[in-house]
């Protein structure tokens, strides 16, 4: 096996943690996402395997899940706890290899090249990790072992929950080809329906097409799909990932339309984005505004910042410019989002200007002071007056 990659995916992670810590929930349908009587707009974040029997899936509106399973245990979840458990899991991985690439809170890729002498063949390492997680954390995970990342992820998904699946180079066609095309990375609803129109339902059918045909239909992405369908994936396991964007969005319990309220929400989001930029040591060069209307129509607008920024006001001001280009008249808004992109390292240096923007210098000082206060007394210790007097939506 060339580069042995292991993909570990926790089974119904949030629900499993709750069931572990609350014995009374065990064996019952547990749904994490919120209280369906209050959080009318919330979606299912995780459903236990018992709940999945009722047809409940991730990302399904909570209200629908409630209808399917009214006696289910609906929980808001405790992100802080899950993050802590996630850290414990990642710590277990790092016993076996330094090359761990967390994909999300509950899954990761591990490159175990050169670890054989210490811990045995990749399959044995995978089993050991699975056992460590079960014994020490009392949680179940599914593990895939394969020559590359794509196949490892496919493998872990094959026998859920609790499976350990190895795809050896000789098995690729047998395992991969019967799978539906949605299992390919990058194939979403739109691409899938386009492929189905071309008479392609399985990965095998796609792999047998000439590459040129896919390139003609999908451009560069076509060539990528073709290689994946043949089980080829050259991407390395990378331990640290450069952030490409930092964004925040909020869905309202009831559609909002008051322009003042819209601006207040955007200010709050810009505040959050700016804080996050500063924490991660980035400056943003671009900002995006996302507006989703009550009917789910979504528009996004992007603009460039006059200078790279990590302060609220430059971001907020630009977002307001972008807002002016969005038609809000009489339309209820379901979701608002503020994003920042084109991130550059804030190496602590600043190009001086002949026309120093005194407002900006002042904001920088104020922000530094607020950051210090919040570092000590917690987030929200200092608030903008505009956001205090705001009526809650």
């Amino acid at each position: 096996m060339e580069t042995p990659i292991i993909h570990v995916d926790m089974d119904a992670f949030f629900a499993a943690v709750e069931m572990r810590d609350n014995p009374q929930y065990r064996g019952k349908p547990v749904i994490i996402g919120g209280d369906p009587r209050r959080d009318v707009r919330a979606v299912v974040s995780t459903a236990s395997y018992e709940a999945r029997k009722y047809g409940i899936r991730s990302a399904m509106p909570l209200v629908q899940a409630w209808r399917l399973c009214p006696h289910g245990i609906f929980l808001r979840g405790n992100m802080r706890k899950y993050a802590e458990v996630s850290r414990q899991i990642m710590a277990i991985f790092s016993r076996y290899t330094p090359l761990v690439e967390p994909l999300s809170i509950d899954e990761a890729f591990l490159d175990v090249t050169g670890c054989e002498k210490l811990f045995g063949p990749p399959r044995q390492i995978a089993a050991a990790i699975q056992e460590d997680i079960r014994r020490e954390l009392n949680l179940s995970c599914s593990v895939g072992v394969a020559p590359n990342k794509f196949l490892a992820k496919i493998a872990s998904d094959l026998h859920k929950p609790g499976g350990l699946t190895v795809i050896a180079p000789g098995d690729i066609e047998r395992v991969l080809h019967p799978l539906p095309i949605e299992k390919l990375w990058g194939v979403g609803e739109k691409t899938a329906s386009k492929l189905r129109d071309m008479g392609i339902d399985t990965i095998g059918q796609l792999a047998r097409l000439p590459e040129s045909l896919l390139t003609a239909a999908f451009g560069k992405m076509g060539a990528g799909l073709w290689r994946l369908a043949r089980g080829e994936d050259g991407r390395m396991v990378t331990t640290s990932r450069e952030a490409k964007s930092i964004s925040r969005e909020v869905t309202f319990p009831r559609d909002i339309s008051d322009p003042e309220q819209v601006r207040a929400v955007l200010l709050e989001l810009a505040d959050d984005v700016a804080l996050s930029l500063r924490r991660h040591g980035y400056l943003a060069t671009k900002v995006t505004l996302k507006v989703r209307y009550g009917n789910f129509d979504t528009v996004t607008r992007q603009g460039t910042l006059p200078a790279p920024a990590c302060l609220t006001m430059p971001i907020y001001t630009r977002v307001l410019d972008l807002l002016a280009r969005v038609d809000l008249r009489g339309r209820g808004i379901r979701l608002l989002g503020v994003g920042s992109g084109g991130l550059v390292d804030q190496t602590g240096c600043r190009q001086l200007s002949f026309f120093e923007n005194s407002g900006l210098v002042r904001e920088e000082k104020i922000t530094q002071a607020i950051d210090k206060v919040e570092a000590r007394y917690g987030r929200g210790a200092v608030k903008r007056a505009t956001l205090l007097i705001r009526k809650d939506p």
Binding site: T304, P306, A307, V344, D345, T347, G348, C349, R350, Q351, L352, S353, F354, F355
Partner: protein, 369 residues
């Protein structure tokens, strides 16, 4: 309309006029070139409403007329025609349909009425007029153009300040981080002040030639500027607003003064740039002491240290710059030696050619916090 002209002449004229043609516009006529006949030949015009270019060329006029033809199609087609004479005529039953023939090739293009084409900005009859040697103007523009702001946060800075006073013609550009200043002797002592959009300046620069025997006429009134060149007229609206008082920015007292070989320093900066652009921050450190040490370093990439001998007077100094800003200035210095004057690590550095004191560039440093 019916005219005959040389293919290469028409292609060249279209190439120039096309630069002013709007690429995106709801009005189809704006994406076109206006062709008009005159006694002496053909006149082509293109405009994007911000600026316009008019170009006259020799042609044999058989029948007078005017029409707007799609610029992109026409330019591309004429360019691909074989060398020779081009014969263009409108259909007798539809004057908007133009038949263009060259040898065995015939192609029909349908256009729009000339009345739909907007009038190009024109200087009023009482506009001020300046005549500047073409080669000199080209050099002056290229030395200042780099410092014109590209982003629109302060619209006034997206233009180039042109002013005349005390027998001097002065050009100034600044994007806030650097400032370029160039002046030349000018016979007239009328006082003028106008801010010309950077886009127009860049287009005029491309048209200008290094000629010393030709003059460019610049007409200025309150709202527009017109450059009259050999057979080509470019007119543009002016940028509205008041240009910041740039004289206050130019320092007069210095703590450290350096004279160095311009090429050696430029070469050192270019080498440093290779390393620092990889790291993405473009930051170089200049240590000014017995000479200038240029240091560029990026994490994970490498480090370069380069000593450039120089004559240094005054206090030693360490100062950081965005290397791009320095290089933009050095590209415009033809002299062998260059003056660099500093007042401190957080104040602008003034760069001047050793001989030519009509040109100076200010570059602000980067502050490490």
């Amino acid at each position: 309309m019916h005219f005959v002209c040389e293919k290469n002449v028409l292609a060249a004229a279209l190439g120039i006029v096309q630069r002013a043609v709007a690429t995106k516009s709801p009005l189809p006529a704006l994406k076109g070139v206006l062709l008009e006949t005159e006694e002496s030949g053909l006149v082509l015009s293109g405009t994007n409403l911000e600026f316009g270019i008019k170009c006259s060329l020799q042609a044999k006029i058989i029948e007078h007329g005017a029409v707007v033809l799609p610029a992109k199609l026409l330019t591309e087609f004429i360019r691909k025609m074989p060398d020779g004479m081009i014969d263009a005529s409108s259909h007798s039953d539809n004057p908007l349909n133009i038949n263009i023939a060259c040898g065995n090739i015939k192609f029909d293009l349908s256009g729009y009425p000339a009345e739909e084409f907007p009038k190009l900005a024109e200087a009023s009859s009482d506009a001020a007029r300046l005549a500047v040697e073409e080669g000199l103007l080209k050099e002056m523009f290229s030395q200042t153009e780099v410092a014109i702001a590209r982003d629109e946060t302060r619209p006034i800075l997206t233009g180039l300040l042109l002013e005349t006073e005390a027998n001097k013609l002065k050009l100034v550009a600044t994007d806030g981080h650097r400032l370029a200043f160039r002046q030349a002797a000018y016979a007239d002592n009328t006082e003028l002040k106008a801010v010309i959009p950077g886009k127009a300046i860049r287009e005029v620069s491309k048209i200008l030639e290094d000629a010393q025997d030709k003059k460019v006429e610049i007409c200025l009134d309150d709202t527009c500027v017109v450059f009259i060149m050999d057979g080509i007229v470019l007119s543009s609206r002016l940028v509205e607003g008041k240009y910041p008082p740039y004289q206050q920015i130019i320092p007069t007292d210095f703590k450290t003064s350096v004279v160095a070989d311009a090429q050696a320093l430029q070469a050192a900066l270019e080498r440093a740039e290779i390393i620092v652009r990889e790291g993405g921050n473009n930051l170089v450190l200049l240590q000014v002491d017995q000479g200038i040490t240029v240091i560029g370093a990026s994490q994970d990439v490498g480090r370069v240290e380069d000593f450039v001998p120089a004559e240094v007077q005054g206090e030693p100094l360490e100062i950081r710059f965005n290397v791009r800003l320095l290089l933009d200035c050095f590209h415009n210095i033809k002299d062998q030696q260059v003056h660099l004057d500093f007042t401190g690590p957080y104040s602008p550095c003034m760069i001047r050619p050793f001989e030519n004191h009509n040109y100076l560039h200010l570059v602000l440093p980067v502050r490490l916090s």
